[in-house]
Amino acid sequence: MLNRDEDILQAAENWQKAGHGVALATVVETWGSAPRPAGSSLVINDDGTFLGSVSGGCVEGAVVTEALDVIASGKPKMLEFGVADETAWNVGLSCGGTIRVFVEKVGQS
């Protein structure tokens, strides 16, 4: 693992307490050859800084964009990412599976 989840969650707490808008994105379901297991998480703050990973780099960009929306709206979202192409493995891409990612704002009352 590149980042231990505890460091990620501590960063989320620190960012929130420092006055940032913060979102937490967590892998909740996986099918097929998903690169990160359920429970893997990514934290994002309102200036677009993020820590952790939900896919090892494949979909983080899209998750960060959605997370900024969630920070603004305060409403949680479920995202789904998949690669239908069966040949994905053959060309060396690890994202051959499907993952569902739950994105929520931190500091929600």
């Binding site: 969650l9 501590q10 937490l24």
Partner: protein, 234 residues
């Protein structure tokens, strides 16, 4: 997630206490279940299963889709005895994601050349062990074959809630050890917690094979429901 929930999760994790966050993914409703409250929780069966496996996952309950996010402490392995078996055991345990510490007061054994990249404490158990804060998520093995080192180490392990205690030695050696520990005030129930001879019975011969047998037994103790683990060991 409420800031309060996040703060509690971080506090529990820092204290190496397991915690599970239950999220209703339809609306984001959330609650936190601490390890000590799992037994009395309405989702007790599901929560304890996920925690035992150390796995997060989705469940359905009462028509709701709930995500159980399990935060279990990293398991630790404390090895008393920087012996040949330990040289095989330490890297094997690390590959299984254990945080490994080796304790042996004999500096000729506890040398960085013999144990590259493994935290080594070249002190007697009474000095080395208390600061390690051995807890439930710790497996503890005594491998020196030297009662002066193994016995006080085992007495310390009894005072903690380690999920696994093992000690090297034949049945005969262990019978003598049990007598010595009893003479030093150990309870029969504590002595019975020691896995000895150590490791699953797989006919292990070499130090590496013995290491495999030990890690297999520790894994069974960590992952299997309590009753099954006992049947397997019997």
């Amino acid at each position: 997630m409420k800031l309060e929930t996040l703060t509690q999760v971080n506090a529990e994790r820092a204290a190496r206490r397991p915690v599970i966050v239950v999220t209703d993914v339809a609306n984001g409703d959330q609650r936190l279940v601490k390890a000590k409250d799992i037994a009395t929780d309405p989702l007790s069966a599901e929560l304890s299963k996920q925690l035992r496996m150390g796995k997060s996952g989705m469940i359905e309950s009462g028509g709701k889709k709930l995500f159980l996010n399990v935060y279990a402490p990293t398991a630790r392995l404390v090895i008393v005895g920087a012996v040949h078996i330990s040289q095989a055991l330490a890297p094997l345990a690390r590959s299984l994601d254990y945080d490994v510490t080796v304790v042996d007061p004999r500096t000729a054994f506890a040398s960085p050349e013999r144990f590259p990249d493994v935290p080594l404490i070249a002190e007697w158990p009474d000095v080395a062990l208390p600061p390690l804060n051995i807890d439930h998520y710790t497996a503890f093995v005594a491998l020196t074959h030297d009662p002066k080192i193994d016995d006080p180490a085992l007495l310390h392990a009894f005072e903690r809630e380690c999920f696994y205690i093992g000690a090297l030695g034949s049945r005969k050696t262990h019978a003598k050890r049990a007598e010595r520990l009893k003479a030093q005030g150990a309870a029969d129930a504590d002595i019975a917690r020691i896995h000895a001879p150590i490791g699953l019975s797989i006919g292990a011969v070499s130090p590496s094979e013995i290491a495999v047998a030990i890690m297999a037994e520790i894994t069974a103790e960590l992952r299997l429901p309590k009753e099954t683990a006992k049947v397997q060991a019997a």
